[in-house]
Every structure is written in C-alpha cells, then in structure tokens.
Amino acid sequence: MSEEILEKKIKNKKEVESVTVRFAGDSGDGMQITGSQFTDTTAIFGNDLGTLPDFPAEIRAPIGTTYGVSGFQLQFSSKDIFTPGDEADVLIAMNPAALKVNIRDLKKGGTIIVNIDSFEKKNLELAGYEGTPLEDNSLDGYYVYKVHITKSTLEILKDLPLGTKTANKCKNFYALGLMYWLFDRPMEITLNWIKEKFAKSPDLVEANTRALHAGYNFGETAEMFGERYEVKPAEHFTQGLYRNIMGNEALSIGLICASYNTGLKMFLGSYPITPASDILHNLSKHKKYGIITFQAEDEIAAITSAIGAAFSGAIGVTTTSGPGMALKTEAMGLAVMTELPLVIIDIQRGGPSTGLPTKTEQADLLQAIYGRNGECPIPVIAACTPSDCFDIAYEAVRIAIKYMTPVIVLSDGYLANGSEPWLVKKYEDLPKIEVNFRTEVEGFAPYLRDENLARPWVKPGTPGLEHRIGGLEKQNITGNVNYEPENHELMVNLRAQKVKNIENDIPLLKIEGEQSGKLLVLGWGSTYGSITAAMENQKAKGNKVSHAHLRYLNPMPKNTEEVLKSFDKVLIPEMNMGQLSKIIRSEFLIDAIGLNKVKGSPFKAKEIEEKIEEILHGGK
C-alpha cells in the first residue's frame, strides 16, 4: 500500500496498486485459515498475489507466548508481483505476542489492527512487554486501530449453544470479515467454505458466518476507519483458467501427472518431516490416481523401498528435508550404481542438524551435489516458484526414466508453503514421457547402453531377462561384479558422462534483461521471486542489471559459462553461505560475488537491490 494512502483517513474507496497484509496470532487462533481464505478470495477476485506462512516449531505452544505465534503474509496487486512483499502495510495482531514478533516486518507508517481484548496483563507479560505498547510511545508513526475482536465475536454468538471456548475460536472470521471490508473483497468464497467445512455441525456454520458478517459490518458502520482500499484485478494475466497453488501441492500434482502420463505406478516411500510431510499427505489423499504411498519406518527405508519399487518397474519417489536427506545418501549411491530411475525430493529447511525446522534455507545444495561416498554423480534440479514445483517434479520424472538415474529435486520451506496464482495446465498439453521397458531377450545385457548411455529398464516378471544387479562395481555391459582397474575407471566415467549428457536435453540459460553488460544476478531456487522483484525496481530506477536463474544445477545448461562471461560481474544471492558461488567459481573460475542471508527467511527485494546498487555505484 503506497504510503500516501495511509497518511490520511479519507472517506470512501482509495485505489492502490499493491498491498501486503500480515495476519498474526496464537497457533490456536486460526491465522493460517484466515490467511488462506483471504488468499483464495483475492485470487478469485483476480489479483496477482504471493503468500508466505510462518509457523512456529511447536504444535500449540502455550497460549500467548512469542514462540507460539503463527503468521501469514500475503501481497496482492493489480500488477505483476513476485513475492509475498518485503514488509507489511497492514498487520493484524490477535494478541500482544503477535505484535511483538511481527512489528519488525511492518513498514514504517503502516497500519496495525489489534485485538484490544487480548491486551491485558497476563498476555502482555507472556509476550515480554512491560506495560502495554498501546499506551507508551513505541508505536508512534504507525496507524493503530484497537478493535474488540474477541468481545464482539462472543457477543454476537451468545445465543448459540456453543461453549465460550468454541465461540472464541470464531474470532478469526471476525477479523477476516473486517479485512474483507477494508479491502473490498466479496465474502461468498469464504461463506461457501464455511458451509462445506463445518457441514457436520450447523451451529458452527452459523457461528462463523455470523462472525464474518459482524467483522465486515463493523468496518462498514464504525466510524473508525476513514476509508477502504481497492486493489483492482490484475490485467497482466493471460487469458485462461487460474487457481491458487502452493509449492508442495504443485509438486504433488506434478508427480501424479507424470505417473499418469507414463502409465506407470508411482511409489512414494517417505518418512514425515517438516516441511516435506505435506507431499506425503497430498499423495496419500490422491489414491484415486493410483499413487502408492508407503510411510516408511525411517528415511533409509523410505529411499530403499523406492529403489525397490523402481527395480520392479514403478516410478520410485522419496521426499524429505535436510536431516532426512543426510540419512539417504548411502542409498543414493546404490541407485547410482544400479542406474535405476528415482526421484529424490528435498524440501530444504534451516540447518545444520535439526536446526530451524519451520524456517526456510537453501543450504543443502552442496550436499545434493557432492554429499555421497565415491564418485557418485546425480542430476540436481531446483524449483524457483511455488508453481514451478509442478514443472520441476514432472521434469525430474522425465530425466530419471530417460537416463535411468536418480534425480534430486530441491525446493524449500518458502516455496513449499508459499502460494501464487497459476494458469491451470491442461493435462493434454503436457509433454509425453517415454517409457520403454526392455522385453526382447535376444542380445540383452543389463548394462548395455542406449544413445543417452542409459541402461535398459526391465520389469521383473519379464521372461528370459532374469538378471542381477547390486552395489558392487559392475562390469561394463554384463553388469557382473567386477573389480578390474580399467573397468572401474570406465564405469566411473560412463556414469559421469551419462549425467553430463543431460545438458543436451535441457533449455539454455535465459537472460532476463540486457544480454551482456556490467552485472548479472545469478539465482537458483526460491530466490527467483525476490530477484525478479528487485529487477523490476531496478529497471524502474534505470539501473542496468540482468538476471539469469538456474533451474538445472547439475548439469548446468550448456551456455552457462557463456552467459556468465557476458557480464563484468556476477552476483549470486543465496539463502546460504555461498554454495552456488562455490560451484560457479570452481566450474568457470569466475570471481562471483555472493550475497548471503542465513536468517531462515527469504530475501527482501530491497536487500538484493542494495547489493546491486553497491556493485553498480560502489555503495548505496
């Protein structure tokens, strides 16, 4: 929300281009539901948008504590946007702890709507406030609105046969109603959702419906808010059918589509871990598409069962996050040695060790590329937006099958739980993934190779092709156990060459902006949104800087060196200590400049811009 609009309270609607809202409250306050309802409504309304939930690591930490605060941020716009917004224009704080934790991400001069009912002694103390911030001067410079969200909700529900505890749980809909009024959104979508969700208890339908209306009406009737804001539908969208999509969901349906396309069974071997568990949940829900999900006893069983499934002719998939990835590395070697197709998905989170389970990070790249014993090359690809998770998953299956190789897919907590509008793909438009099981007995050998150096895939059950594979070094062609010096070196080279060959089969690296010049920003993974937002702003400022984004990390597109060398300087922003930088430096001997952030949260466009300007102008 551009600043001027908040400066004064004028009557009626005020049109603005983009707004960033953050909902924040206790884990039990339903902020994720509020956020996703606002998102759905806003998406269908036609805005472009980006979302970022922020969960605590605790399930339901004691009420009122700062570590129990759950948040949901959303930017929506009438123009093309790429992130959930650097800073919030509006913060809804359901309790003091939510205010405490989130105030640092609020724009100076922004708006705060607090649930005044929760600002009493106990909660203030739990949040670590001495006194109340609403009465000292700490919120000077913000517009603060104190709304009796709890009381008003309880009041309008008092004739319903609900306990106070249950009635209290409806207050998020009151807040949501108020926001719908403030940003002039329709309520149908949420009203329908309430009906469906609580179908089994009419009282809850009634209660939440009332709360939503009450919040809306409060905005309408109270004299409190001087004006409403209007964010017109975005016009840049190409024609077509849209939906809102989260990264993990996109990834799941990408996998299902690939399975469907190949006509093969898909077998997911997985052990729950944040933030990857939702893929397991999603795929388990989609039984009607024939997906087999196997909740393994640990990550090792997860990947090895998937390897077994691949051996028996299914698409083997395993999903995890950093610590689980570490546990799978020995088995990855087996998949490399036996040259079986397998998709390994790592939804990265803050590390090392258990680290920061609910925070995002990109620090598993080197592990993905190098983290195995012996010379053990595996293709690595990374999604760059929530919806790109669909394409990356689909592509992973294609590569795995075509090259008979495990493929590592990198995503992260930010992409996994973030969402954006997506032009729904038609299944018919998806590229065909070819599968050729070997059935011909004549001339068969398990380690024969086709033109891509892939070995034949044989389904056990095929008569005449009985053969044995395993983790000991294989003799070229026959696949027999072999320890001969020359054969080993040959096989090490063949395995490397096979992976390298994939570079002939992937798109060239595209440059956004000028094709050569002073500065290229090179990104990978989820920094895409922040970098793109930064580029737009830089363009507006007249600064010349280009952007390239690597979706293929191993092998890289063939023209990567050429692209990098077309620029005087290369800046690599990463949510780690410089892992892609290390690889780029080593591969191309380019003195890449790293911009590194290891704070468990995505880059703000501003942070990237500052670095760009520093490089371009030698300081900000």
């Binding site: 349906i253 090895t304 028996s312 059950g461 044995r468």
Partner: protein
C-alpha cells in the same frame, strides 16, 4: 508367501543356477542352503521370471548372484526395505530375501521388525552363523556372550538376540528354524516358508567354517543331534532323544524336560505343539534360555493375517468403487479456480 503358480513349466534345481561362479569358502554352509533352495523351487511351481531374490551385504547376501532369477544385491541391512518396495509395487512377484545375522539383526534390525509387523507376503531366510563373515570375523548380535572374536579379544560383553523371540516380539506371522546340515528338513521348511501368506521368517543355523566353525555341531552332527534337537510338528507332542525317550511338558508356563522311561511320565503328559499360538511359540522359542532344554527346529508359528499389499489393494478398490478413478484435469484444477477472460 504365495504367488500365481504354473504347472506348465517343469524345472529342475539346475534351472535356478546362474552362470556366476560361486565365491563362498569351500565348506561353507551357504552352499547347502543354496542347494536346498534350488531343489525346492521346482516343486513350488512359480515361473522363474516371477522370482526375485534380494539381499543386503555379507557372505550370505551374495546369494542372489547364484540364482538364475531376478536378483538385487542391495546395501548392508536394507534388503528387507528394498524388498518391501519391490513387493508393494509389484505384488505378483515371489519375493525372497536372504540375509546374514549381522545384515538382518544388526544394521538391518529396524527394517526387519517393521517388515514383520506389516506382514508383506515375502520370504525371509536368515543365514545365522553367529558371526560377521564377510568382514572377517567380528561378533554379531547372535553371537554368544563372552565369545572371543577379532573385535572382542577378551570376549563379547553383549547378550545375544534370540532371533525367533525377536520375530515374535515384532508381531511376525510365520516363524521357523532349520539347519544347513539337515537338507531334508531345510527343504521342508523352505516349502512351508514359501506357502505361508504373509512375511515368513526362517532362521537357518549355518556353519561358517572359517570364522565360527562348529557353532552348531551340537545340533547338526550325528552323535549329539538327536539328544539336543526337538523337531516341532503341529498337533504332535514334543518328543526327542536318540531313543525317542525324552519329552517336554509344561508346568504352568514353565517347560520341563521329562524322561519317558521314568515310569512316571508318558507321551500323554507332553506339550502338544500348536502352530497357531503366539504364546506357545514364545515358550518354545525361549527353550534356548534354559540350558537343559533341546533346540527346537521347525515351525514355531504360522498364523493368518492380511498382508500389507492385500490391504492397500482393498483400499484402492474401495476408493475406486466410491469415486471411480480420478480425472486428471480435475486434479490440475484443484478445489477452486477462476477464469481470466
């Protein structure tokens, strides 16, 4: 486990031998196990291409290389997990796992016990030589306490597992024991293993003549065998001994050895074996804790329970019955969409 069978193709043991030279030490008990498996398979009527042998790492885990069937020599301890994926993704296959005591009970212990409770319809043969063979002789989780090995020069400080007890504790449905040096019994047990629907666990006492020679001679050699082994047979009393003059009766839940010639006891006093009781199986399997009791071989437990893959097949059926197969474009569209015109 069972699988569709054929009576068209008639195999001989030789048909199951691969072209690879066998690389076990001369005299190793593994040779006999290989031979008995190859001799038993023809009678099971499973076509060759449906057979998959899966192993981890260890001497015994080389087994798949010597079988002219599909085979997977995986990594140490993970054969059971790999096999789970193979079987679930392709329930038509007849899946066999061969594992050493180290491979299965040391590094692979977790997958072992989860396989048993899930009850996948696979056959699991454990070659128990009570030693790590391939790594040249360290004690294993089944080695006796105080055993002197390369890694325990003053004796192993560990109490061993009792493999059949462990399998019972892990909720297994078929638990049996046999010996490399009793080919007939071993063949019989392999057949039973194959026929059971669900995870079948067969412990095979196996002589490692290099690092643990004679570990089971008490049970396998002529002179001592009959007085030290009791063959379990469903519905039959527990009688053993050179002259069939010893028996086991239950005193409450305590098993005691009785002399059938003592004028006091007769066969009628004896414990009758019942393969369907988990509690009895535990009592029998615990004989090894009591120095005076013989080593039971045979089937301890054989009970029926849905297999994992059967259960999920039913789940799929129910889902399809209710809502049909999914429309892929519905999936792409998701819960709610909007049109930009």
């Amino acid at each position: 486990m069972t699988t569709d069978i054929t009576d068209k193709i008639i195999y001989t043991a030789k048909d199951f031998a691969s072209d690879q030279d066998i690389r076990w030490c001369p005299g190793c008990g593994d040779y006999s196990i290989l031979a008995q498996v190859q001799r038993t398979l023809p009678s099971l009527g499973i076509t060759k291409e449906k057979l998959v042998f899966i192993a981890g790492i260890g001497c015994s885990s080389r087994f798949p290389y010597y079988m002219d069937t599909y085979g997977f020599h995986t990594i140490h301890g993970r054969a059971t997990a790999v096999a789970s994926g193979v079987k679930i993704a392709n329930p038509d296959l007849s899946v066999w796992i061969t594992a050493g005591d180290g491979d299965l009970m040391s590094i692979g212990g977790n997958h072992f016990m989860h396989l048993l409770r899930r009850n996948l319809d696979v056959n699991l043969l454990m070659f128990n030589n009570r030693i790590y063979g391939l790594t040249k002789g360290q004690y294993s989780p089944t080695s006796e306490r105080n055993k002197i090995t390369k890694s325990s020069p003053v004796g192993s400080p560990e109490y061993p597992f009792n493999p059949t007890n462990l399998a019972l504790g892990a909720n297994g449905t078929f638990i049996a024991r046999s010996m490399d040096r009793d080919p007939k019994h071993l063949q019989e047990m392999i057949t039973r293993t194959a026929k059971h629907h669900g995870t079948s666990f067969l412990e095979i006492l196996q002589n490692c003549n290099i690092y643990n020679d004679g570990a089971f001679f008490l049970y396998t050699e002529k002179e001592t065998k009959e007085d030290n082994v009791v063959y379990l047979q469903h519905g039959k009393p527990l009688v053993y001994g050179k002259n069939k003059d010893k028996g086991i009766k239950l005193d409450g839940f305590h098993p005691v050895m009785v002399d059938l010639n003592d004028g006091v006891h007769s066969v009628n006093d004896l414990l009758i074996h019942d393969e369907s009781s988990r509690e009895l199986a535990f009592i029998l399997s615990s004989f090894v804790d009591h120095a005076h009791l013989p080593m039971p071989v045979g089937v301890f437990l054989d009970i029926a329970r849905d297999s994992y893959e059967e259960t999920i097949a039913k789940q799929f059926e129910q889902v399809y019955e209710k809502g049909g197969k999914g429309d892929i474009n519905d999936l792409l569209k998701g819960r709610s969409t909007w049109e930009i015109k």
